[in-house]
Symmetry: C2
DNA sequence: AACCAACCCTGTCTTTTGACATAGCAGGCG
DNA sequence: CGCCTGCTATGTCAAAAGACAGGGTTGGTT
């Protein structure tokens, strides 16, 4: 339950130089207002949040926001773009844990424990909103709504991971890929990134393989099979699902829950 | 973000009859005090918690606490015993999501969304402490420490699921079993259930299989191989790990983080 | 144009895992 | 005792997934 702000010297220097202090859009005109799937906070709460916002940070596709094992003095909210959380094993095996979309909160686990158990990398160009870790709990304590939202986000991330566990444990390669595609397109639509149900997002087959626990070769073949079946058309730069209901049925997925996500 | 208390008639009746209203140990003498791995709440906070505690509920091994899809007016803290969370697919496939030990909190996701996405079943005889769902957020709002602890628990459950995802995605059958055994024994020791590193817990090979996404037959063979290798000795009623460090190395697991868990 | 890097596709062979069937073994019970 | 029931153990065969190797495409760069 470490809440200190001590960080190994230098581990954060590059972030400081990247950060636009109090730059970008102010909270009262947050770019997340444009996201259809988000529940907008009240404006007095926004004023409150604005007081401990530190600035914006941008990353290009492929850049790493932070690495497993680092201690960072910041927490982030995704303002735009898509990222992924990954875990590395000593022998080089990599598991992609989940993808992160606008409104998602980054670094909660590290805020409580100090050390990141995973890395975060940008999948598109990305803008993050940075908060000071040291002042975060002070704020949450003063604003019950905020800590409620934090709990909401953590509980829902947990639910997403549950679904992912079901995929890895029980579904075969094709079902897993359909489940992942449905998940991504759904989140993309909620974030306004998938107009007409077509999600423009560059994901390599190697990344799909590392998310689903399959080899690259098997991923490739399964992807082709799904294209032939007309279930999912997943290219390097976009995901298209011709019939969402049929895809859901194929993968054994429930209908999406309609509750709007909060953000901070 | 449904917070209503409405429940389909009858879905909770059996629980009402099982519950010992304000029975069992009062919060000021909570049985969880005996758990070595738990961080004890301050006594004024306990008094506070006691005011919205409803009573205790007991279940025997194999009994279901609630089923996927149910709406329950209660949240629970595990006072003693071990349980598991499971997800069922329409075609009967079952995935065990995680195990729950004393101090764990049950029903957070349902508290926010209304409907359970998983079932919970007792693995041993179990005692749960029941709270009213309707009054829960009122309490968390008044007690920042409490909502902090709630977030802590959610974030750490998330970290446990991450580790499980790494297992399912990247580790082979034997590594998965070792990783699971280490996890269970570790949590057992933190809960005071595994004196001398021997965890007495009845888990069938079928349950191991459903947790690790393997067939029963393959689980059986891998279990035998591990026994032969002297890495893990896992029988129906107990788990023994002769050399914890060696087992950790075999499965590619990090050293355990020493932070004490809070409970509510 | 030539080169290069990153990615996608395909063929062949091996390993891992699963399906099915069946035997054994311990505990509970009339 | 004999007869369940639930669990563990094994054998054989089949399917799913991975390893390795190489070819093809695209797009950027000099």
């Amino acid at each position: 339950m470490a809440r200190d702000d001590e960080v190994p010297a230098g581990s954060d220097g590059y972030l400081q130089t990247r950060m636009v202090r109090n730059g970008g859009a102010p909270c009262l005109a947050c770019p997340l207002e444009a996201c259809p799937g988000l529940h907008q906070p009240k404006s007095e709460l926004r004023g409150w949040i604005a007081t401990f916002r530190q600035g914006e940070v941008r990353f290009a596709r492929g850049e790493q926001v932070f690495a497993q094992g680092e201690r960072l003095p910041h927490l982030f909210t995704v303002l735009s773009g898509v990222l992924m959380r990954t875990r590395l094993l000593e022998d080089g095996r990599r598991q992609i844990i989940n993808f992160m979309f606008p409104g998602d909160f980054i670094g909660l686990q590290a805020a409580l424990d100090g050390e990141m158990t995973h890395s975060v990398e940008a999948l598109t160009s990305v803008t993050l909103c940075a908060f000071a870790r040291g002042r975060f709990f002070e704020l949450a304590a003063q604003q019950p709504q905020l800590s409620f939202d934090l709990t909401w986000l953590a509980a829902h991330e947990e639910a997403a991971l549950e679904e992912h566990i079901v995929s890895l444990g029980q579904r075969n390669a094709r079902e897993r890929m359909v489940a992942l595609a449905v998940f991504l397109v759904q989140r993309g639509m909620d974030s306004g990134l998938a107009p007409g149900g077509l999600l423009s997002l560059t994901v390599t087959q190697g990344q799909i393989a590392d998310m689903l626990g399959l080899s690259l070769v098997h991923t490739n073949r399964s992807l082709q099979a799904l294209r032939r079946l007309g279930l999912v058309d997943w290219t390097l730069s976009a995901i298209r699902i011709p019939d969402m209901d049929e895809a859901r049925r194929f993968a054994g997925l429930d209908a999406p829950s309609p509750s709007p996500r909060p953000y901070i």
